[in-house]
């Protein structure tokens, strides 16, 4: 994940570059280092450097890295001709290179020629069966073709070996959620929480999945995770505040029939506090909708 200082630096460079100041090469290097996805800008400015032969030779050996970066950005923006040109140049320079082979397969994928791309990736995998990037491309292809179950299969196989890759777990969780396989998604989010226990994003996602699965225990757990999100974000997460209110009302609904022996009284005021925090935030940010909010909250207080 990108840290705040890095993000600030990135935005600063971006503004500088867009407004005609210098610093294009630093911007491109930073984008490459942080692996952020700014394909349009990379394409525009990278192409500008590459087309100018003076600037190109000034780069020295980094020229080829720039070609690679621009090729990928071009494929992301669907300028396949540009990408083809870059790859041709790279192919001439590095004829038998695996890295260029990956780019070629990526181009096939971008053109939508799924079988050829599949074949190309299998050949690359034979040489190097433990290449993480290629495995991930296969998953992406399955997803793009609209075969989420195939994507899940590939991802599971990938995770059997590379089980510490939290990006992969996150992707798997999202695919499960899109397929409504919530229990499996909950498992994935647990893995994510284990890898990064203080990241509120994961707590929030886990809480939402638990809330969606439903059931008394899960609702109580969901409420706890919404609370931890609030704690980790200092009360700023509106979604978590809403989550607490909804959980509270859902729990109350469920336990209306039962006797309240085991009522979760760890934090009895949490719901009302969340409601008031919500009202305060709406007053600040969207005062027009405040009345909607108040009526919704009132209807939840069963």
């Amino acid at each position: 994940m990108v840290t705040k200082t890095e993000e600030r630096e990135l935005n600063q460079l971006e503004n500088q570059v867009e407004n005609g100041g210098g610093g294009v090469w630093e911007y491109l290097c930073l984008v490459r280092k942080l692996k952020v996805r700014r394909s349009e800008l990379v394409l525009k400015h990278g192409l500008f450097i590459l087309n100018d032969s003076g600037k190109r030779s000034a780069l020295g050996p980094d020229e080829w890295t720039l070609y690679e970066q621009v090729a990928i950005a071009a494929m992301d923006c669907q300028s396949l001709a540009v990408a083809q040109n870059c790859i041709k140049v790279l192919q001439k320079k590095f004829p038998e290179s695996k890295r260029v082979g990956k780019l070629e397969a990526l181009l096939l994928e971008a053109k939508g020629m799924w079988e050829e791309a599949e074949k190309a990736y299998s050949i690359l995998l034979e040489d190097n069966p433990l290449d993480q990037v290629i495995h991930k491309r296969k998953v992406a292809m399955a997803k793009a073709q609209g075969k989420p179950s195939l994507a899940i299969e590939h991802l599971n196989k990938y995770l059997e070996v590379f089980m510490a890759d939290h990006d992969a777990w996150r992707e798997l969780a999202e695919i499960y959620v899109s397929l409504q396989m919530y229990k499996q998604a909950a498992f994935c989010y647990e893995e994510l929480i284990l890898s990064n226990p203080t990241l509120p994003l994961y707590h929030l996602a886990y809480a939402e999945v638990l809330y969606t699965i439903g059931g008394h225990e899960n609702l109580i757990a969901a409420r706890k995770y919404y609370a931890s999100t609030i704690d980790l974000t200092g009360g700023k997460s509106t979604r978590a505040l809403f989550g607490i209110c909804l959980c509270g009302s859902a729990i109350a609904q469920l336990s209306r029939g039962r006797n309240k022996e085991d009522k979760d009284v760890a934090a009895p005021e949490l719901q009302s506090l969340a409601a008031s925090a919500l009202e305060k935030e709406y007053k600040q940010k969207a005062p027009a909708k405040l009345s909607l909010l108040s009526s919704a909250l009132r209807s939840m207080k069963l």
Partner: protein, 246 residues
Amino acid sequence: MAEDLVLDTAIRDWVLIPLSVVMVLIGILRYFVSKLMLSSPSPDAKILKEGQVIIRARNLKAGANFIPLRSFRSRRLYFSNEENGLLHVPKGQGTNPQAQMFSDPNMAMDMMKKNLSMIIPQTLTFAWVNFFFSGFVAAKIPFPLTQRFRSMLQNGIDLSTVDVSYVSSRSWYFLNLFGLRGLFSLILGDENAIDDTQRMMQMGGLGFDASKNLGAEKDGLDMIQHDWALPRFEQRAESVLRKLVK
């Protein structure tokens, strides 16, 4: 007997400086040669998986209190199950890293190359120093030393009355050997600032002893008591919100 010997400035010009320059150049040469000879390591699937398993087990240990009890228990079982748990290494099969190292031809070649690339320049330089630069006092160390260092530092000088602070060029060689790391980090960039001392340390540590690590992680996991931290979070969230709402 603290007489001050006056050392010829020619010694400085023709001994100390050339010796340092030569050692720096040899270091740079070695760096480039090692880059040329670098065989791309083909990662072993089994070792890679074990490494990842260990990372995941460590994460489980670290974050155990953040997930519900049932999930923690099922994961712990998955890892340390007696039959097919990930961390369980059956007693007979613990991969002996030494044997593995020597039987795997690639790794053996790599180790040999690393060792050779270190031993040969050192030996040659040392012989060169001894041949050309022995038999005279090369420098004076600014702080006093005891007599025990005499044999180490004054090797070519056969006078026992000379103060131990006056050392031969062999000690200057050793000083350079251990001290040029800073210079290399300036010249070659911070990651490549490995000089001989670190290489020697690398020679010592033989390999990734996976089986012991797995066993250690398994024990660590078995020992954990799960204490679900989330209820505490609820109260903390309450106080955060209270402060916010005020």
